[in-house]
């Protein structure tokens, strides 16, 4: 065998030239990865660096004035802007409560589907559908459902209330409305993750617990939970990162209102960049968001690795 491969190698070498150099085995990995990294560099990383540069200049995309160098001024401005912190806070509240609801609902749904029973596949499809809708349609129709005069939810609740049910009139109600819609749309995602965790629990553990006469709670806390623990963490991180991007649903259901009670950081950046054309300032803000996302991504990968260690 050694003889054969040696011949092959010399054969390739003798062909010589750039092509052979390029196709050498030690270059195989880099060569295969290059196209992907190239596209990512052109469409993602390069623009990122560009905007990093922009964030130091005073530049507006709708003006013809020559940009001036401002140093860290925009970072300073963003970090000291009360509005920004308020938006981050709003985002945190919405992300936190939405992810919490998604976890609970997704978990219960997963428990429901963790068994095998007739028609499971079809019923599972029904629950998965919300995830496939576009944000726009979810936003539009939930807004309609909440509408006090024409809304389905309002109509149903009016049977139990003396006053008209007006959900979006208060900051708390508006946040609840957004969280409800977002959690409805994405709980199936958490369900899928938890389901993955539940499926990976060996059945004999449950049987052993049955023989050992473990209570429901003990069974859950010593078998089920340890197996899905890191997956739940995964779900939290994934959803947190995704919910950070929450834009369309908010923009459609409340436009950030009442007042600025539901204006998330994503909506804020959008306004800065595309309505006010404060290009540099929005770039600086975007970098702060990116930093947060990178931290979260690190946590996410840590969680993934932990799970791999635990299962194998």
């Amino acid at each position: 065998m050694a003889v054969v491969s040696a011949q092959q190698v010399t054969g390739e070498r003798s062909a010589g030239g750039f092509w052979a150099w390029l196709m050498a085995p030690e270059r195989r990995g880099p060569l295969l990865v290059t196209p992907a990294l190239l596209v990512l560099f052109v469409m993602n990383i390069f623009p990122l660096l560009w905007s990093f540069g922009l964030s130091f200049f005073n530049y507006r995309a709708n003006r013809q004035t020559v940009p001036t160098f401002e140093g860290l001024q925009f970072y300073q401005r963003v970090l000291t802007d009360e509005n920004v912190w308020e938006r981050f806070q709003t985002t945190a509240i919405i992300v936190g409560s939405s992810v919490l609801v998604q976890l609970i609902v997704g978990f219960l749904l997963a428990l429901m589907f963790a068994r095998s029973f007739p028609l499971r596949r079809i019923l599972l499809m029904l629950v998965l559908t919300p995830m496939m809708l576009s944000f726009v349609s979810v936003g539009v129709f939930f807004k309609l459902y909440y509408e006090p005069t024409f809304g389905l939810v309002s109509w149903a609740l009016n049977h139990f209330m003396d006053e008209r049910f007006v959900l979006l009139a208060t900051p708390a109600g508006a946040i609840a409305g957004i969280v409800f819609a977002d959690a409805w749309m994405w709980s199936p995602f958490v369900m899928l993750l938890v389901l993955a965790g539940l499926v990976s629990v060996p059945k004999y553990l449950y049987e052993a617990a049955e023989i050992d006469r473990a209570s429901w709670w003990r069974r859950f806390s010593t078998i089920t939970f340890p197996y899905i623990k890191s997956l739940l963490l995964l779900a939290v991180l994934f959803r947190t990162i995704e919910t950070f991007k929450l834009f369309d649903i908010v923009y459609i259901i409340t436009e950030g209102g009442p007042g600025s009670a539901t204006e998330t950081i994503a909506v804020y950046v959008y306004r800065q960049a595309f309505q006010f054309f404060r290009t540099s300032q929005s770039a600086a803000l975007a970098y702060i968001i990116l930093f947060v996302v990178i931290v979260l991504t690190n946590l996410y990968l840590y969680a993934v690795q932990r799970r791999e260690q635990e299962v194998t």
Binding site: P202, E207, A208, A209, I211, R213, P226, E310
Partner: protein
């Protein structure tokens, strides 16, 4: 306390996994369910445990019918094939796990864990988690967890299958010792006959959901009830030769084996058989002597393959179209292709009828005419 199975049946859809079996395991008795995979032995065990529910028939623990009780209500202990240790708990916690259902004090729990750990020599690993244990330790924890509480019976599902050969021997002895001290009915499921033969008081051989024979290990080996048991028990496998009865002689009965004939020293039940009846003769590989000369009571066979097994040598022979396995002393070294003459040892013949059931026969004592 006893375990009693009456006409126990389990169906999975159209497949009948366990078919009307009757079995009684007495107090302190260790019963092995032995059989090839898919014979229904594990299903039977799981029905006793309450992890599967019987389709028909009855399971009694003591005097109580338990068919309708869930596993947790039956108070049985079980050791699983894959040990089923709770991965997030330490060894001590794993051992204590079944005790939580019994509302014991913390001190009592600790005492029992200590006791079990001592018996099974688990003391040094009590603080570890299952992922950090060797296979043998895991196995001991699994056993410990099942014996730590006062269950009405003990069930073992392939307890040794994941251990290497050496460990298996040690563990066999340890488990046997532990079980002897418990005096509870115990059922062990295994596909390993050595395990069954060494550990069991009685063995139930199963095939296709039915029990083929229940008997002591010695009985099973010495007097297999039918062709299946005969072929299943014993290594190397018993030679099973289809023969036709030709006639009786003073030395025994003359059988036709292919084109050849051989006189074998049997009597008894054969008197009921008519000439030319199709029978099966079973001879264990170690029940042959090599004869120097062909004789009416020898079978001629050509040496095909020679397998040295250490102290003994296994010969694969061809007698006409029939394969024969014969174990001989390692000093006997016939050449490949040469012909040897085999004589059956007296008292070690098994004869099975057309219905594959054992024909109970007496061997003709040497030199005594029938």
């Amino acid at each position: 306390m006893t375990i009693e199975l009456l006409q126990l049946t389990k169906q999975f859809g159209k497949l009948t996994a366990v078919d009307r079996i009757d079995l009684k395991i007495g107090e302190g008795e260790v019963l092995c369910l032995l059989g090839p995979s898919g014979c229904g032995k594990t299903t039977t065990l799981r029905m006793i445990a309450g992890l599967e529910f019987a389709s028909d028939g009855e399971i009694r623990l003591g005097d109580v019918r338990v068919n309708e009780l869930a596993a947790r209500e039956r108070n049985v202990a079980m050791t699983f094939q894959f040990y089923a240790l709770y991965p997030s708990l330490t060894v001590a916690e794993n051992l204590a796990y079944p005790l939580h259902a019994e509302a014991l004090s913390a001190g009592e729990i600790a005492r029992r864990v200590d006791q079990i750990a001592r018996i099974l020599q688990l003391g040094p690993v009590l603080k570890r988690r299952p992922g950090q244990l060797a296979e043998g330790e895991k196995q001991r924890v699994a056993v410990g967890r099942s014996i730590i509480r006062d269950a009405v019976c003990f069930l073992f599902d392939e307890p040794l299958s994941r251990l290497d050969v050496q460990l298996r021997e040690t563990m066999r002895g340890e488990i046997k010792a532990v079980l002897e001290g418990l005096n509870k009915p115990t059922v062990i499921v295994t596909h390993d006959q050595l395990e069954a033969l060494t550990m069991a008081d009685r063995i139930a051989v199963m095939r296709d959901g039915r029990i083929e024979q229940v008997a002591s290990p010695h009985e099973i080996f010495a007097r297999p009830a039918n062709l299946f048991v005969a072929g299943f028990i014993g290594t190397p496998q018993m030679n099973l030769l289809p023969v036709k009865l030709v006639d009786r002689t003073t030395d025994g009965v003359r059988f036709a084996l292919g084109e050849a004939t051989v006189i074998l020293p049997v009597n008894g039940a054969t008197s009921a058989l008519r000439p030319s009846a199709a029978l099966t003769i079973g001879v264990r590989p170690r029940a042959f002597d090599l004869a120097a000369q062909p004789a009416p009571d020898t079978i001629a066979a050509r040496v095909d393959i020679i397998e040295p097994m250490g102290a003994e040598t296994l010969l694969h022979l061809l007698a006409g179209e029939h394969e024969l396995r014969v174990v001989v002393d390692r000093r006997t070294r016939p050449a490949i292709g040469s012909t040897v003459h085999l004589r059956c040892k007296p008292n070690q013949l098994h004869l099975f009828g057309t219905d594959e059931q054992r024909l109970d026969l007496r061997t003709v004592p040497a030199g005594v005419p029938a």
